[in-house]
Point group: C2
Chain length 305, copies 2
């Protein structure tokens, strides 16, 4: 397999782009395509401070690496969730983030928030003691992460929170939303969620990359990352959707990309319109001052009641 650019040994074949690249040209292409995605969806400007939510996984570390190489003012943020499950999952994740900084970008700033240290309970414990966490801690975990990301972004004067969601992630969510015709979600799902009433702007610069491409980028750049997924994500419906979508892709090259990009363009052109659910009146939480629709205390602060 030969590199489409130089004829050297290709390390990856991206059928949906009809492109085979050697390590050197893959990195070059990957950086340029990330840059094009940032510009195309107007994610942030070169002078903006960007907060990268890093988990220790391949996508978020690769994203941070890419943004730094593209000379963006990107700081990392690691949220210590206190998930162990016999695997030391959270500890390992933090190790990977620290190793990444030490090895690749020793001057980069990594903001660390430890949920248990700061608020008194780690996620699994918090989930067990709270109605919202019945069964799985994922709902509580999402709520806590959103709150903390928003706080750090606001307090640190960041223009946007960047997450490592790749196209496989987005397409799985799109499939979930479509299978249930959740039109409120379908109205909003996008590479950029704009800032609104104290809710920080959120952007996904890897939204045009297939998962295997961000994995290949991490590999080629020598970025070590945690291979395990969160132990609570095992057997999730999202994973099933990803598997089905990969079967589709195998049958028809570019199927995943087409599903996502046609969705965005049909919506943009008005060929399809989803009715947005009324967002409800936002007001500052009386304790943390983050925006909430829930009356006095926001859902996050009510967790700790």
């Amino acid at each position: 397999m030969k590199c489409s650019k130089c004829g050297g040994r290709a390390v990856i074949n991206m059928r949906q782009h009809r492109l085979r690249l050697c390590a050197e040209h893959f990195v070059e292409w990957f950086l340029a395509f990330a840059q094009r995605t940032i510009e195309r969806y107007e994610m942030f400007a070169p002078t903006d401070k960007v907060l990268v939510a890093v988990s220790g996984g391949k996508d978020s570390l690769a994203l941070w690496d890419v943004l730094l190489r593209l000379n963006y003012r990107a700081e990392g943020m690691y949220i210590g969730l206190g998930i162990d499950e016999g695997l030391g999952y959270s500890d390992k994740s933090l190790d990977m983030c620290r190793l990444f900084v030490r090895k690749h970008h020793p001057d980069a700033v990594l903001n660390i928030v430890d949920v248990e240290g700061e608020y008194g309970q780690a996620i699994p414990e918090l989930a067990r003691t709270h109605r919202r966490g019945q069964g799985k801690p994922c709902a509580v975990c999402g709520l806590v992460k959103r709150h903390i990301m928003n706080r750090i972004a606001r307090d640190g004067g960041f223009a946007a929170i960047a997450t490592g969601h790749n196209m496989d992630d987005e397409v799985a969510v799109l499939m979930q939303n479509t299978l249930h015709w959740q039109t409120g979600y379908l109205a909003r799902q996008a590479p950029v969620l704009v800032e609104r009433d104290g809710m920080a702007r959120k952007v996904k610069p890897f939204v045009r990359f297939y998962e295997r491409e961000s994995a290949a980028y991490a590999l080629v750049q020598g970025i070590d990352y945690i291979y395990d997924e969160c132990p609570f994500a095992k057997g999730s419906t999202t994973n099933l959707y990803k598997e089905l979508l990969n079967q589709l892709e195998l049958n028809s090259t570019g199927a995943k990309q087409q599903f996502y990009l046609h969705f965005l363009s049909a919506r943009e052109k008005g060929e399809v319109t989803f009715v947005e659910t009324e967002p409800g009146q936002l007001q500052p939480c009386t304790r943390c001052s983050q925006p909430t629709t829930a009356g006095n205390l926001c859902a996050f602060c009510r967790l700790w009641e």
Copy 2:
């Protein structure tokens, strides 16, 4: 496994309905649910003449059986496509339709149109000699069937053409249309296609049944049918979608039904709107007088030029 109605031995478990039924109560339920579907979507009235497109397969023969048992004025229509492929596919299909009449409804009327006998070429031959048939005859076949069905319906004064499409068929089409965001198709896909300018009304009374239910109905009623699918349908994308949707159903009971019914209801409530493609000006074909957007000769008549 016990019948939810009488406690007898159940022959089918329909998890999405939380219903297990014995043979007798399954037939009773099946007939009543078909009747409810016909009424709910206002498919046709008790006095209407209905033309059932029968292929010799389980769905269309079961449909014809159901409509006759419900005392509708249902005639069958078999289109002889002349597909052999070493299997005698079309011959066997016609045999099954004739056997069905003889065995179950000796007074029923079966209209037979033989494509080769009437127009001079069978489908595979016609497809080979025509640009539209490059690769697979499915496009030509669909065109020919639509034309003939419409002709028989119009000439015979039928209020509607009923086809045996079940929910698995519909959901596979919905998935196909959604994966490509074909909003023109998504605007129209429905249990009823209304009559328009000489295009006959089309209805799908089995749209609420899973495929396994119509198969079970045929089995329980002793209806013999052709098990083979059309040899040209092998490896079709539709079959892949059906397989993926069954994986979803296995993971989450009712997933197929929910995907389809939520689609219909979200569209009806205006939560999602698809822009319909302009249908184009219809005028009668100068040869066959069926409606066409294509100028003088309709696409069917041009096939034989």
